[in-house]
């Protein structure tokens, strides 16, 4: 809670009738980023009601839209507050706002400012001109790393029960004591899923541009195979009898399928995927992931029954 700013008109510094009007979402982080970058200058900030959602997502969903903006302009009596007729929107509001309709309905000209608040002063000082780099969405290493904890925690929540289930069924079917064999085999089962999680939510985002392939699922399969290899090395089972060939194959399939699935899910966090593209890769990716996981589990059961 506390991530919402009340919609309406705000004064930053000592704005007058000539001061520029900036528009933003009522997501507190968006609002604070904007304020932070403008300290020492005078502005009007018009906050529209996006239900606490950031600019880009609210524009995509339509809550940061033409209608809401026009309504806010009227409610704030902007025509009386300033004597110019220009409002500056974040560029990423573009999917939701039709500039020509805003002009028609409110009389205000919409100018799209830069994507990042950090470029705003430069944009304004250049006479509301954005350089090409200000207009481009980036996806740098730092921007990807920031996403890692979010992805990891979300995946961990979903994977927790899988890890527990695999751990406590690891000893089933083996000879001797249940607990003895569980403690012998359980850690490897938990490690397999843990490795897949790290591969899919840490390695894939961080290494994204370096991994061959265009489809995220394809990248995930490659990283998943690498993680499987690491798993086999870590569990020291290349030459030992601790794991039979069925079980090894099972873990390779499970780790690879899980990593591919997590990589596929990273399409949503990335800044360069299209819906048509995601649908296209999912048409083959999702069946491959499901088939891999099912085959892996069947092999795992078979490996336990084989002894």
């Amino acid at each position: 809670m506390g991530y919402v700013v009340d919609p309406g008109l705000y004064a930053l510094g000592q704005p007058n009738k000539k001061s520029p009007i900036l528009v933003t979402a009522n997501y507190k982080l968006s609002f604070d980023k904007l304020r932070e970058r403008l300290t020492g200058r005078d502005f009007w900030i018009l906050v529209v009601d996006t239900k606490g959602v950031n600019v880009w997502c609210a524009a995509g969903k339509g809550s940061f839209g033409t209608e809401e903006l026009v309504r806010r302009i009227a409610a704030a009596r902007l025509t009386e507050v300033v004597n110019h007729r220009t409002i500056i929107l974040p560029q990423l509001a573009g999917p939701g706002v039709a500039a020509h309709l805003v002009k028609q309905l409110s009389g205000f000209n919409v100018r799209y400012g830069p994507i990042r608040a950090a470029d705003l002063i430069e944009y304004l000082d250049a006479g509301m001109k954005a350089s090409p780099s200000m207009r481009e969405e980036s996806f740098s290493l730092a921007e990807r790393i920031v996403l890692v904890p979010v992805e990891l925690v979300a995946a961990l929540k979903a994977a927790f029960f899988i890890i527990v289930a695999l751990f406590f069924t690891a000893g089933l079917g083996a000879e001797g004591h249940y607990w003895q064999s569980t403690l012998a085999k359980g850690p490897a089962a938990a490690a397999a899923i843990g490795l897949a999680l790290l591969a899919g939510t840490v390695a894939v985002p961080v290494l994204l541009p370096c991994i061959p392939g265009r489809a995220f699922t394809a990248k995930g399969i490659l990283v998943g195979l690498a993680a499987s290899f690491l798993f086999l090395v870590l569990t020291g089972t290349f030459n030992e009898q601790a794991m039979n060939i069925l079980e090894k194959s099972a873990w390779i399939l499970i780790i690879t399928a899980a990593t591919a699935y997590l990589a596929m899910n990273f399409t949503g966090a990335s800044t360069f995927t299209s819906l048509s593209g995601v649908k296209k890769e999912m048409r083959w990716g999702l069946p491959v992931e499901i088939a891999g996981a099912v085959a892996g589990i069947v092999l795992l059961i078979a490996s336990r029954l084989a002894f």
Partner: protein, 103 residues
């Protein structure tokens, strides 16, 4: 320019050059430098970079741009396949009760 490029020949972006008046709004709103105006009329310069956000279509005053817009998010596709409502996507919507959704 960032070098990230997704799948080839898949986006639904279409431009009717006969209708274009060269106002440049599509170029102003595009976050992926897909379009350009080489000679008074817009042109699709780098089609495969398009993310189908729909900003160009929304801001074209003469309806010269068409794209089936949406969010390139696998989790959202799965949610809609499963018939889940809410349409939460791409961010942590901590203000509402329907939990955060990361995609």
């Amino acid at each position: 320019m960032s070098n990230f490029e997704y799948l080839q020949n898949v986006v639904t972006l279409q431009l009717d050059q006969a209708a274009c008046i060269g106002c440049g709004m599509c170029i102003e709103v595009c976050p992926r430098s897909v379009l350009s105006i080489p000679a008074g009329i817009a042109r699709i310069e780098r089609r495969d970079r398009c993310i189908e956000c729909g900003a160009c279509m929304r801001n074209c005053p003469v309806g010269a741009v068409a794209v089936r817009s949406g969010v390139g998010c696998a989790a959202a596709v799965i949610n809609s396949l499963l018939g889940r409502k809410g349409g939460c996507c791409c961010t942590i919507d901590e203000s509402s009760s329907d939990k955060g959704c990361f995609c």
